[in-house]
């Protein structure tokens, strides 16, 4: 299943909407979408919306975490602000939800 990554400026943040399955076949699209958002944000805030994501495997989690770190190094706040139940559950089970959602360990 393909992946759609849309980016829009919303108030102070760049909002990245992701739709589709995030796996080994689509992780590069997500990666370049997030990279673009981090590079283009003027306000230093990137918000990722995973409401349209119903599957995310370990390579997808890796892309989210790598971009979170990339953002941090660029002085940009990076948060996953919403996710489908399925995606949130996977991120929780893998112990990365709090970091991605609240910026906490």
């Amino acid at each position: 299943m393909g992946l759609t990554v849309t980016t829009q400026q919303r108030d102070r943040a760049v909002r990245v909407g992701v739709d589709g399955d995030i796996d080994i076949a689509t992780r590069d699209e997500l990666d370049s979408g997030l990279f673009g958002a981090i590079a283009s944000t003027g306000t230093g805030l990137v918000e990722v919306d995973l409401t349209g994501v119903l599957f995310i495997d370990s390579s997808g989690i890796a892309v989210l975490l790598k971009n979170r770190r990339r953002a941090e190094e660029a002085g940009v706040r990076f948060r996953v602000v919403a996710a489908s139940d399925l995606a949130e559950r996977i991120l929780r089970v893998c112990g990365v939800w709090r970091l991605l959602n609240e910026g906490l360990e």
């Binding site: 299943m1 599957f55 370990s58 139940d85 996977i90 089970v93 112990g95």
Partner: protein
Amino acid sequence: MPIRLLKANRDRATLKRIRAVTDTALSHLEVDELLRILLERISALLGTDTATILLMDPSGRELITAATIGLEEELSLDVRVPVGVGFSGRVAQLGQPVVVEQVDEDNVYSRILLDKHLTSLAGVPLMSGGRVVGVLRVGTKEPRRFTEEDIELLRIAADRASVATQARLSQLERVTTLALQRSLLPSRPPFVPGLDVAVRYIPGAQIGVGGDWYDVFELPSGHVGLVIGDVAGNGLRAAVVMGRVRSALRAYSMETTDPADVLSRLDRKIQLFEPEALVTAAYAVINPERTAATVSVAGHLLPIALDTVGGGRPIEASVDLPLGAIPRARRHLVSLDLERGSGLLLYTDGLVERRHQPIDEGIDKLLAGLTNDNAETLCANATSSLLHNEAGLDDVAVLAFRIT
């Protein structure tokens, strides 16, 4: 001859030219042979004196001669041309056909082309997935004009060459990855006194060999380390990183028997030397008496504690961040009591994650299928019931042990 017939003849001739380079019989040849025959046919069709295929080296900065016929044939194949420099270098840089009707010192890189008194050159890029992977170039001693049809024919031949060379590359990578992966993941775990251990690795249908790994080792102190992990990514790169992470973990296991400490050290090593890598792992250390284990979990699915009567449930532990996620992540450990017949089942996400189904459903199914059997049977049952004897899309690793 009526014009229509003329045109029909020309079309037929064109078709014949195209067939000469798309001939399916060519696909049975080894790549080197195929490239040489392609060059011979192109050379004959276009009446050129030399024809050469150069391929991009892995750095993407240089072209290396892969096959050549005609004037340059007696020369070594190992001619390298920097991208952006000279004729072939320019074709590679532009990613578009280039024609030079009069060769001079300014437009060629290799002295050879001048020394061989070539006058006209035409080159097209070999493309794959939108990237330039090489250059097909032809040349003549006599001045020659290359028509659009000539260029089109070169393009078709270049496509053919590109498919063949890329197929060989990916074949080579697959074979290498598999060999590396097999050497790192023995299908039988070592014999460990006091433990019944079994392992499984199943490559994914979609991703082939990935970065999943397991490891079992006994330390001089009598402690036993058991680890399961997942390096994000697939193919040769993931397998190479997995190999390094696996041996680093072994090295740290000799320094301390605290699994959280081992994972913290491994995390620091990954942050420094593999900054692009992201690794999840669950690491358990069993004491020499085989009465207790300590476990630390880094972004990984919780291991399942196996009881003595055929049941099991995920251990109660905090899942810390994956290795490589943030600097100095806090790591925890939990202690578990072990007795004869109890044990642990460790596994990677490919076993339980199914598209558009809650991950807990997969875990519940795994728990429901547990039996009182030995480690080997547990691994076999878990993989066959959850994967239905078909490879999932992701790769899967499973490790189980019981105290004997």
